[in-house]
Structures are given as C-alpha cells and as structure tokens.
Amino acid sequence: MAEEKFDRGTALTIFGTDRHEDLVALAVSLVIALLVYLYV
C-alpha cells in the first residue's frame, strides 16, 4: 500500500496525525465503557 495512494492519512492510518487517532480511540473507548456500565 503506497503512501501516495491516499490523499488523507497515511498508509498506516486513515487519520491525519497520531494525536487525531489517539483522540478517536479515546472517544470510542469512553463510549464503550459507558455502554458496558449502563447495559451489562
């Protein structure tokens, strides 16, 4: 997968920066934690 194939993100991630990816991972985790807390 060549890097220049994507005009957004890199060959390793769809996000523009590591920080952006970290923040999305954090948001997804908090949503999952909330759902586990409420429904399990």
Binding site: T13, F15, D18, D22, L23, A25, L26, A33, V40
Partner: protein, 528 residues
C-alpha cells in the same frame, strides 16, 4: 478523491455473517460446533455475526445503489468493507482454524512425539497475523478493503485504553515499579548504544537519531515522532521502519516459542515481551500468541509497553538536544512544546479507564484482577445447569489435609488465617485471602495443600459481569488490530531494511531481547 468503491463484496460478506449466525442460532451447525468444541463461543458467534453482518448488509446495499460524492461520509463509510473483511477472516480463524489446528496437533502427537500446534503456537492470534501477511503479499488487499485495513492501529489503541479497566491499584503499583526500572535501563541503554555506534560507524546524525528512537522506544511511531527533530529524510525513516518491522515480526513469532520452551509464566513472559520487542503491536501479538485463551500475559506486557511509550517524549528531547550539539545550524528545541506535542494521548485514555474502574463502577471495590470477594451463602451454594445444588465450602478431606500440613506454616498471621479457613470451611475476608495467597506463592505447603488453598480462593472470588464483557471486547479489538496489522506487513516495506542501519538496529535489538530475557528470568517472579 472518492474512496467508496461500487463492489458487491461488502454485501456478500454481510450476508455470509448473518447466515452463519442464523445457522448457529437454529442449531443447524450444532454438530460442527460440538466436533470443534466451540460451544462456549456460540454467544459471541451470534452477537458478532448479526452485528457486523447486519451493518455490512446495510452499507453494502448503500454502496451498490447510492451515488457517493467526496467528503467525510464517503471517507469514513468506505472503511466498512475492510473492517468486515478483517472480521470475516478473524471469525474463520478463531471459530474454525484455531480449534481444528488444536485437534490436528493432538491427533499427530503420538506419531510426532510432540503437539506441533502447541509447540509452534498455531493459535488464532498467530494464524490471524499470518493470514493477513499472506493476503497482502500473495493476493494483495482488495482496493475496497484498503481503508478498513488502515483502521487496525485504531483497534489496537482502543484495546489498550479499554485494558485500563482491568487493573487494580495493587497490580499497577507492583508492575509499574518493575516496568519503570526495566524499561528505563533497556530503553535508555539501547538508544545510547545506537547513538554511540552510529557515530563510530560515521552514519549521518539524522539516520542514527531516527534509528535509535525506533530501536529504543516503540518502533514505527517513535521513528516517525523523532524524525522531525533530527531532520531525518524519508529514506532514513524507511530504513528504520524496515529494520523494526523485520526484527519485530521475527520476535513476534519467536518470543512465545522461546517463552514456552523456558517454562515462563504470564508475568515473566509479559515483562520480557513488553521490554524486548520493539514495536507496540508486535508486543500485543506475542503476548496473545503466548496465552490466547486469556489476557493475563497481555495485561503485564501492556504495562511494560505503556511505560516504554511514556519514554517517547523524553527520548525525543534527548535526541533533539543531541542533534543540536552535533549539527551546525540545527534549530534549538523547546522542551515544553516537545513534551506536549509528543505525549501519547491514548496512554492518558488508559489511565482514565483505570481511574474509572478504581471507583468500583465496573466491579465491586477492591477487586483483584477483575475478581471481587464474596463469601456469602448466596454465592457459596449454587445450582448447576441441571439444577443440582453445588456447595463450594471445603470438604472434610480438604480440611484434614490443611490441618495436617498446618504446622509447616510458621508466621502468626498466616497461621491465624489458615485456622479461620479450617474452622469456617471458607475464606472469611479479603485479608485472609491475600495472606493465604502468600502461602501458596511461597510454596510452603505440598502441591495438594496448595490446590486446596487455590480451591478456597476460587470459591470466594467472582468475576464481575462488566469486567468479563471488557475482557471479551478487548480480545476482539486486539484480534481485529492484529489481523489488520498482518495486512500491513508487506515484503516491500521489510525489503527497505538494509546496510549499516540493519546491522546496528538488528544487533542492538538482539542485545535488548537477550539482555531483558536474562534480567527477567533472574529478577521477575510469578508472585503478583
């Protein structure tokens, strides 16, 4: 650029997943499930099959009929095809290949003299990564799946953050101290060794700098993070990434085999993998390959990995100062700005989940490794599936054995805890449980005596439903991330390694792996 491709494959994979879940639910696959021994997985087969299959059917239909324009919706929804592709491979490997391989391993044991599936670690983690490597290098990842494959690192990071919910203060305190010492020595040592050696071999400062970050801290991310401060060229970053990938892939497959051959436990292996392997994703891969049926090893390895990642800003500052001293005209470094910009936010997420869990919202307070203490009759006397009553109090032969071996226990607090256990036929408090766990760890009693104490421990420790759910979710996030990671390990990127950087990186990586193995075997014990 429009990313959505008009393909029937997302829809087809969705229909396969839903149909599989339906066949499991209807009992049509009961014979196959019984043959493979995967009865305990039917719950996740239904939930995941219907959920991912349903989403893929909807998005697959939309991709076939809707006109897509460039934008966020196109970009993010185009990942669904790749995510479904990875999950389908994960389903096949985890629910089909893994149990089948285990059966073949057992069947061939009399002829071969060893269980090849166990010795070669042919479990779902290893086979999932290998499947990914084979797909990308032999068949090529289909164009409609490429965007989804680029989400695998997000899956791994989400898994690490959720893992924070499973630690208790006691574990983190003990593992944390150990990891800071071990990681501190090996990270700083390997960065220093690469910098020293690179200078002696007259490598460009930018090449040496970026290689030292990659070999010392956390692989690819560290190389990319350090590149701007040492003004590394893209070819130098590529050399470093190639070296790290080649070394990391070898370690990922070799570490679990060596760990099993040396009879390492969860803690020793987790500590070794977290210290000795260069890249975060491959640490997770090795830990799960070592223990595919539980996440105790992964938990230990990730503490070491996170400690290593936390060293990243410090290493970047060190490299920046080192580079400024050696290069005329290099820009001076703003330490505060580097600390803020390079701090890995997903580690903060891990800490947030740990703090949330410590408040007792996911498991009763003072849980240990996700298990909480309850010795009330409500949980000590239960009914099994057939409705028969099962009493988990210790039985007379167990009590007689403990009574007989009691004189081996010399410490007063341990003697008192053992006496209370014998009188009440069950553990009476968390403190007694902790005290007698110390007796087990110190191997004071015979093997049979320890087995009775372990039985008493299991009877009063219960896994909270929320924690059990976190464990399942974490295992699936890592499975998704690792199959996707396999699809990113291309021979082209590994071939980028070569020359002096490969020699220096390889030898320093090897010193770190062997050195950390020796230190772990000498200093780390299975007592946490």
């Amino acid at each position: 650029m429009v990313y959505t491709q008009r393909t029937p494959w997302t829809l087809i994979m969705g229909v396969i997943m839903v149909a599989y879940a339906y066949l499991v639910q209807s009992g049509a696959l009961a014979g196959v499930i019984k043959y493979l021994g995967t009865d305990r997985l039917t719950g996740e087969m239904l939930t995941l099959g219907y959920t991912f299959g349903g989403i893929a059917v909807l998005i697959g239909l939309w991709q076939l009929v809707a006109k897509t324009a460039e934008g966020h919706i196109d970009y993010y929804l185009s990942t669904i095809g790749g995510v479904t592709f990875i999950m389908l491979i994960a389903f096949i490997v985890k629910w089909g290949l893994d149990p089948q391989m285990a059966q073949w391993g057992r069947a061939a044991q009399p002829a071969l003299g060893f269980n090849f599936a166990s010795v070669m670690n042919l479990n779902y983690v290893v086979m999932g990564i290998v499947a990914g490597i084979v797909i990308v290098n032999v068949f090529k990842v289909p164009g409609w799946a490429e965007n989804g494959v680029r989400l695998s690192r997000l899956g791994l990071k989400t898994g690490v953050i959720l893992l924070g919910a499973l630690y208790s203060f006691a574990e983190l305190q003990q593992l944390g101290k150990l990891s800071v010492v071990l990681i501190g020595v090996f990270v700083l040592g390997s960065v220093g060794l690469v910098l020293w050696w690179g200078a002696r071999r007259n490598l460009p400062n930018s090449m040496t700098g970026v290689l030292s970050a990659g070999v010392g801290v956390c692989g690819v991310s560290a190389a990319v993070a350090a590149a701007p401060v040492v003004q590394a060229k893209s070819t130098e970053i590529a050399y470093t990434i190639g070296t790290i990938l080649l070394f990391g892939v070898i370690c990922m497959f070799l570490f679990p085999i060596v760990g099993k051959a040396l009879g390492m436990g969860y803690i020793t292996f987790g500590a070794w993998a977290g210290t000795g392997i260069l890249n975060s994703a491959q640490v997770a891969g090795a830990a799960l390959a070592f223990q595919p049926t539980g996440i105790e090893t992964l938990k230990v390895a990730e503490i070491f990995n996170i400690t290593r990642v936390l060293f990243l800003p410090i290493i970047v500052i060190w490299l920046a100062i080192w580079y400024v001293k050696r290069e005329v005209g290099a820009k001076k470094v703003d330490v505060g700005q580097v600390l803020i910009s390079k701090f890995p936010v997903f580690v903060l997420g891990f800490i947030i989940l740990f703090l949330l869990s410590s408040t007792g919202i996911f498991a009763p307070a003072r849980h240990y490794q996700g298990a909480y203490f309850d010795n009330s009759d409500k949980v000590m006397v239960k009914k099994d599936r057939s409705g028969k009553e099962v009493n988990n109090h210790l039985k007379d032969p167990d009590l007689q054995l403990l009574q007989k071996e009691g004189e081996k226990v010399k410490r007063d607090d341990q003697k008192a805890a053992l006496q209370r256990l014998i009188e009440n036929k069950k553990l009476m408090s968390i403190e007694d449980d902790d005290t007698l766990r110390g007796v087990v760890n110190a191997k004071i009693l015979s093997k049979e005596g320890n087995a009775v104490l372990a039985k008493a421990h299991r009877a009063v420790r219960h896994t909270a439903a929320k924690i059990a759910m976190f464990r399942d979710l974490i295992a699936w996030f890592f499975t998704f991330g690792l199959v996707g990671l396999g699809m990113q390990i291309t021979m082209a990127s590994i071939r980028q390694a070569g020359g002096q950087p490969l020699v220096i990186g390889g030898i320093v990586g090897l010193i770190k792996a062997v050195g950390s193995l020796i230190v772990v075997m000498l200093l780390v014990h299975e007592t946490i």
